[in-house]
Symmetry: C2
């Protein structure tokens, strides 16, 4: 008995949006060949590696041994955020995989942080040890509230993983001090953080504690941001400096150039923008604030329509670690910070909960499988800060960075990946990401265990099974990814018709024990074409299969990549190679390569160059730079487009 | 009676080379619509403009008014080279177009320079006024001998133009001091100039005075260059500095990394290289030195085969104002200094005299009509230092530069253009460049007047006429440019067969009064393709007609240039527009332009972009940036090559 709904009215918000809620990452156990080994590596290699790097750097000791007044602030001014993010990541791991050694390290790190806490609750490494007189003096530049935010996120994760309140209580005291210090009242500072982060952290703290003052403080920070007179102007003048001398030129850099509700475009530092709008999405949901929701959607659409790399990377420029102009997406110099792609996953997931629109999940998946995952090596111990789409072979992952935001950030995202697969309503389960796994979800008071059986992301067949001894009435919404050009649903080997609401096929029925619903997503190797306004990519194409964007590496293709051209009608064969790069599906295609042999000493001539056929091998972008260094490129020249059947005269 | 020779044995050098000699620039009177008005502008606008800029800058006064010990040296350390080059350019003008006001300015400038001369003959602005103690202390960096070179060139030009010896005598005293100071003997400095120039200047001084010591000194400078131990190492150590700290990293920068005869590739600062090898070519000729000639030819071939822009621009990088790697020819960031293209004209003309090979004249013409001429505005008063092949509309000519080498350099080249059209042997005239003009040449004691009747460079028909009352026996060698795919020769409207020696058709006969020989060069608009190893240009083409490389400008084509693609089989119609940009032939072609309309909010998609036809208009590259600023580009995408008939399977 199958009932297919084109839209499930019951879950719809008055706006027509389908609201749903995320589930804890602990609900899901990965059993797949893709994520499960990666998560194992994250637990076994990455967490220890980051911890060691922090110890070597002196994160816990240098302030005593070598820090002194007058030393340069960056990156030390936000050093403890590395510790906080590591505690958060480690807590996610401890929640699913108890580990006494790791637990002891976490306790030790927390004990260290607590030694920094001042009698009034203030808790910051730099501004207690080096420049206590600078407390709250320069919110624009010094990451003080940003560090507080990561501390809060760590505390919430640690509390949820272990039940221990030690750090949570400490950050509540700190948050209460912040709440007393900042706000609309006379005598309070009408300020907000130059680097957003605390806003979304306060939302987590609100949810963890139920204390509405944290919600209100987050709301205050967001509403105050960009109001006239601009706090950063006043603050700068109070320091006796000229706001016009601001190094970054414009407050677009930190999204405080105008009130958040009035912002129309994604601008400035990319990570800051992602964290800001994640909090705005949280507030939209919590406060049922349509204005915030519209602001988020508008800016997210602008990002995706004009300023997003095909890898889900974002923030094209190193200069501001952020956005430049529409369609300005250079490849070699792409900044595309790993943290920004992580932030996009976070923001998109929040939007997805506001409305189950496949575009949010598509972008979340696009960033996750490409621009995020490229940020960490297969062995889990080296990292990209920048994720270019083209390289001459000189860009490599590093074990650590002076500004080491990315390594613990990727660890905390991936170690909480279990919370990104599903969302739930009172009655329904929405499936956003596919992977072989078992998830136990509480839904309208019932505990439901769902299995995904699939070789995703290498194959698009996903069999969903509700584990139960008796029939279960349940709506299941399955995301049909935007990249998928052909999708089918079968129930007991029988094809069932479906309609989609915003890219989700909903099957609402009473599931009998042993029954399973199978989604068949075609995911061949295929070309993707860029908007013609992207200057560097005009006349080019990229290769995709399922969620993966592909790239060429010299290790597989020892030819100059700029001499390659993909002809009209090229086909792309997909082969899974279990021993290559921990197992990847490669794409192979016969392309043309310009010949240099018949040029002799000629540099320019009136005959076009000759070309020879060549069978190229492309690998998923995330897996590049794990072998002999050489060229890498995502975008390949093609003669498609101009000479296609679509040409209109 | 026509006699066609495939090679004219009589003029051949033992090596098989056809040697010939240049003629004075005064021999030619331009009567054409292209050069004659430009030269008029150079005389009437450019020379006064440069003079005014130098006065405003304080070239003649600042040393008294504001120069002081400890001030920064660059560009002041070589300031008087601007004056010298201006005197040289003005002298070329005075030689053909007497002008009392200009003559007075020149006399005044010379008088100024003479006030600087020291009792021992030393003559330098900076090192007499600011750092006399630094004389000869840092030849590597301080342009002392470079300035001496330009002073010598000015003196020779002034003497030849006016017969006045005042500056010539002064520079001979200075050259004698240099000759006493530098040389192989004990007690002499075994050094040479960091910026070459004096070497070719000394050759001019030798020819002007007949004094062999100047030839020998030039020869010494060239032979000593790059010999171990390296002078610049010793000199640096003598200053108490470490040669390893050299800012430019390698002595390739100034071509002193190894002995000149052992150099294999064109490297380092482009202008320095051009001036060096111009002198080496002079010495090869004067000393009948095959080694020098081979060195020149080898390095010239390397330049033309691997490191030359299609515009004749050279020196891709701003970092060293010079060469980088083979085929590294980026477009937007192309440095391609105007002075380097000027130097290439000078060097190529010297090689052409060593052997009448059309390739030298082709490159000379290519640089002259493109990368040199782009360096000066149509109104003669603003200049490009850098000549990129692509611009977003922000690169513009300037009236002057802090380092103002280019403006007077282009003036001195163009005002002596008359010396570049012909060379002669005892019996023959070689015609290298075509233009409507009258030239009077002394040949084996006979004075011969030759007329060219042509609309070149816009049309390729050139009628040559020997003006004479009686028959004249004479060989005429006509260059068949490498860009020309179809050339014919007619005598009295009758086609005559010809063979070529290295691209020159020789007609040796007795010319009767009124007879004329007509060369018909086809010069349609046509595509040119780049060597596939040029990374940025793979899959692209440029447009050419005759000596001109074309470019697109937004002023004619208000569309985004990267969205243009030239289809297979495109044709290029040529139209002369007499009112556009002082009269240019434009090329028009129907191309395809990628459409953005049907993309909506999509940034990437699985359908290729659509394209629409568009008729583009291209103008000669030299004429760009004279109208409303906008995009400019030389290289256009094309689907030719890969999909051409030449494709081999």
């Amino acid at each position: 008995m199958t009932h297919v709904l084109s839209s499930s009215q019951r879950q719809e918000h008055p706006s027509g949006a389908l609201r749903s809620s995320s589930v804890p990452h602990t609900a899901t156990i990965f059993q797949d060949a893709f994520w499960a080994p990666r998560l194992h590596t994250l637990r076994e290699r990455t967490l220890p590696a980051i911890y060691q790097q922090m110890r070597q750097d002196g994160h816990f000791t240098a302030f005593r041994e070598s820090w002194h007044a007058g030393m340069r602030r960056i990156p030390y001014v936000f050093w403890e955020s590395d510790i906080s993010k590591w505690i958060e990541a480690a807590s996610y791991s401890l929640a699913t995989h108890p580990n006494p050694d790791l637990a002891a390290q976490v306790d030790e790190a927390i004990a260290f942080l607590l030694t920094l806490q001042q009698p009034d609750g203030y808790l910051n490494l730099w501004f207690t040890q080096v420049e206590p007189e600078q407390r709250w003096i320069n919110l624009r530049d010094y990451h003080e509230l940003y560090c507080a935010g990561h501390l809060i996120e760590a505390a919430v994760a640690h509390f949820q993983a272990t039940g221990k309140r030690i750090l949570l209580d400490a950050v509540c005291r700190y948050a209460d001090l912040i709440n007393a210090t900042f706000g609309p009242e006379e005598g309070q500072r009408h300020g907000y953080s130059g680097h957003e982060e605390i806003e979304l952290a306060l939302m987590k703290l609100f949810h963890a504690t139920g204390e509405e003052r944290y919600l209100r403080l987050s709301h205050y920070f967001i509403e105050e941001r960009g109001r006239r007179p601009l706090y950063f102007d006043l603050e700068t003048q109070a320091r006796g400096e000229n706001p016009a001398d601001y190094e970054m030129g414009t407050y677009e850099y930190n999204q405080s150039h105008r009130p958040v509700r009035e912002q129309r475009e994604i601008v400035g530092h990319a990570v800051r923008a992602m964290y800001l709008f994640s909090a705005v999405a949280d507030l939209a949901r919590e406060l049922q604030d349509e204005g915030f929701q519209e602001t988020c959607e508008r800016i997210w659409r602008h990002l995706c329509a004009k300023r997003l790399y095909i890898t889900g990377g974002l923030g094209a420029s190193k200069g501001n670690e952020g956005f430049t102009a529409d369609y300005d997406l250079p490849n070699t110099s792409a900044y595309a910070e790993t943290c920004a792609a992580i932030g996009l996953v976070m923001w998109s997931q929040r939007l997805l909960q506001l409305d189950a629109d496949h575009r949010y999940a598509d972008v979340m998946e696009q960033a996750l499988y490409n621009g995020v995952l490229s940020g960490i090596s297969l062995d889990g111990t080296s990292f990209f800060y920048e994720n270019p789409l083209e390289s001459n072979g000189t860009h490599h992952r590093q074990p650590w960075f002076t500004c080491a935001c990315c390594p613990p950030n990727i660890a905390r995202l991936l170690l909480s990946l279990g919370s990104y697969l599903y969302t739930v309503t009172e009655t329904d389960i929405l499936v956003h990401l596919y992977a072989q796994c078992t998830t136990t979800i509480t839904l309208g008071g019932r505990q439901i265990t769902m299995h995904q059986h699939t070789a995703y992301p290498w194959d698009g067949t996903v069999r969903l099974e509700i584990e139960s001894d008796e029939p279960v009435a349940l709506g299941i919404h399955l995301r049909i990814p935007g990249w998928c050009q052909q999708a089918r649903l079968t129930l007991a080997d029988e094809e069932i018709p479906y309609e989609t609401r915003k890219g989700y096929a909903c099957v609402r029925r009473t599931w009998r024990p042993g029954e399973s619903l199978t989604l068949h997503l075609e995911m061949p190797g295929e070309p993707v074409y860029p908007h013609p306004a992207i200057r560097e990519n005009a006349g080019m194409m990229a290769l995709r299969s399922g969620p993966f964007i592909y790239c060429l590496e010299s290790a597989d293709n020892p030819i100059p990549f700029h001499q390659i051209s993909v002809p009209n009608g090229a086909t792309f064969e997909k082969h899974f190679l279990p021993t290559l790069l921990n197992g990847v599906a490669v794409l192979r295609s016969t392309v043309q390569v310009l010949e240099t042999e018949d040029w002799s000493e000629t540099l320019y001539r009136n005959r076009p160059p000759l070309a020879q056929p060549y069978t190229l091998t492309a690998i998923p972008y995330y897996a590049w730079d794990q072998r002999t260094p050489g060229e890498m490129r995502v975008w390949l020249r093609t003669s498609e487009g101009e000479t296609s059947n679509h040409f209109r005269l």
